[in-house]
């Protein structure tokens, strides 16, 4: 069944502007010079707005959902790594050894991985995989977007709805902040195509080095993105058709996840290029969803900077990360928690008996 996208859009209310205003007012009463916490002050106000309260609370159930999927286009040599890495990394996530696992532990978050379209037979690898990892798989690998659609409309719809249902699950289980992660050799090719289309930016300006490709692979990647973008351009008014043509089940699911987070009034800390590309699609579906999103970091992928610019989102950190998985958002997470803590816990001038400016 096709989701009613206009109904989804109207179901999303913006965050609480009253709480945001109270946050800015409270910042002025804290024992520090006006504005001295810089970016942290705006972050604390965003936390108040999405929590609907001031002072805010620490986020206590931060959940990363890694959307994994293969992309047949990877066989054209647009990535520095072989396609089998996607499935191997899913196992790495499950056993807790990947970057996202380590950074989640460090920041007090938890990780769930969802195989939307990995081209792997785990049993053949001799690996046990929890059922909930594969329960939403739509197909084995997106088809080659250099040649034709990544998937059917039905598959795009199923993936989008799976992403929404995963967001619902996580919120129902108590998640108070969601982080979308990605894993998939070739997925930046699809993401760059979406960014090129949705920001009207020339292909050469959005195609990056992904996992670290050479000049020749970069040129191949540009060609693929140009061909896919040409097929996607007539579909700009139909987000699900666009995802079917140039993306893949992993990206379609992440898009549904971002939209549904807004429906559920649950904040999202965005990661890198793939989540930026999906955010552009989700923004097309529901402009109001953006109020629920914060950009965790800016990756080195040029398309990511372009996507953030178009969305008007200012990243928290810019540390040259380009790993995906949700890692950039996790590095930013303690800064967001610190911002909330200052607003909630710092003494006011009155409480501490400290003289204010001009006193």
């Amino acid at each position: 069944m096709t989701p009613d996208l206009p109904a989804l859009a109207t179901a999303i209310v913006p965050p609480d502007e009253t709480a945001r205003t109270l946050a800015h007012a409270r910042q002025l009463t804290l024992t520090k010079p006006t504005g001295a916490l810089g970016r942290l002050e705006g972050l604390s106000a965003w936390v108040c707005a999405v929590q609907g309260q001031c002072p805010p609370q620490a986020f206590s159930e931060v959940r990363v959902v890694v959307f994994a999927g293969d992309h047949a286009v990877a066989r054209r040599g647009v990535s520095a790594y072989p396609p089998e890495v996607t499935g191997q990394m899913v196992l790495n996530f499950v056993s807790g050894g990947a970057g996202v696992n380590v950074l989640a532990r460090s920041a007090g978050a938890t990780v769930r991985v969802v195989d939307m379209s990995v081209d792997v037979d785990y049993a053949a690898l001799g690996a046990a995989i929890p059922d909930d990892v594969t329960a939403h798989r739509v197909r084995r690998g997106a088809a080659d977007i250099a040649e034709g659609p990544a998937m059917s409309i039905e598959e795009a719809t199923a993936a989008f709805e799976a992403g929404r249902s995963i967001a619902d699950d996580e919120v129902d289980r108590g998640a108070d902040l969601l982080i979308p992660g990605d894993m998939g050799i070739g997925n930046t090719t699809a993401a760059a195509t979406l960014v090129s289309l949705l920001t009207s930016t020339d292909v050469a300006e959005v195609v990056g080095r992904g996992t670290g490709i050479d000049d020749e692979a970069w040129m191949r990647k540009c060609e693929v993105v140009r061909d896919a973008a040409n097929r996607g351009r007539p579909l700009l008014a139909d987000p699900l058709a666009l995802l079917a043509e140039v993306a893949g089940p992993d990206l379609a699911a992440m898009t549904g996840f971002l939209v549904q987070a807004g429906v559920r009034r649950t904040p999202v800390l965005l990661d890198g290029l793939v989540s930026g590309a999906c955010a552009l699609v989700a923004h097309r579906i529901a402009h109001t969803a953006k109020g629920w999103w914060l950009a965790g970091h800016r990756s080195t992928e040029p398309a990511h900077a372009r996507a953030l610019e178009r969305l008007g989102l200012e990243p928290v950190i810019d540390l040259g990360l380009r790993l995906g998985e949700g890692t950039g958002a996790l590095v930013a997470l303690p800064i967001l928690q610190a911002a909330a803590a200052t607003l909630a816990e710092m003494a006011t001038f009155d409480e501490a008996g400290v003289s204010d400016k001009g006193a």
Copy 2:
């Protein structure tokens, strides 16, 4: 007794370059594209170098020492806040309500405040103050550097030695990472003077807005810094005489603290302008100390950017903070811990059975 500065300099050995090399080699084996953790990779290598081991451990005893002191120059209206705020803030630190307390709790660090030269009578305020806060006080307030020396050479020496002894105390009690914090209305005037002198930068380029001053106060601050810098210039070859002329006991103590951290092979996460200015002086005393320092953040104070540039230190974050107290370093601390965690805990390609590049 005057400290033997050349002996201090030779007592400082650089961090462990073998451990740093091992760290870079280990990064290449972890399950992620080469270089994909960006700045985190270099940070993890620095942690290995200062810990002398690879893989590294999380820092488990991170200690902020806030050096508090008044500056008579504040009475000239070079700050947006009245001078009595310094003593009031010391009490705020002791009761745990200041920004540095909140951010330390958030990042898993602890705070000690040392009154080196606050111009306050706590008893008259009706406030109980722990003995260890005031045990090192050298005088009540630095003298007005617009008119003459901030303190005598003897006082500068006593403060410098107190800073060294505080570093010794903290390392002996188990601190494995030190953060220098500052509190003192007027202290950015002294710090800007040091930066102007030690980086040969024109006064107007280094004087900032401190706690948030207007144009008229900014011009007064420039005048003061110019006068003090003129008196300090002939003393550039004698760091203790320079501190006596244009700084104050708080900055002299922080300088000793930074030097002694190097002697004790203990890493330091620098904060904002005041610690940057003291680092320039400490660097003049002992060039090798710098290997033990990492710049936590870049503040909005122009002199801070200049100091970091001269020291060749790249800050971890740049979030428009200008609170001092150690707060910028504390916001950066979780990123440093995250960097160490990735190197220590991520699975290697071999361990996870993931295919490497070109496999």
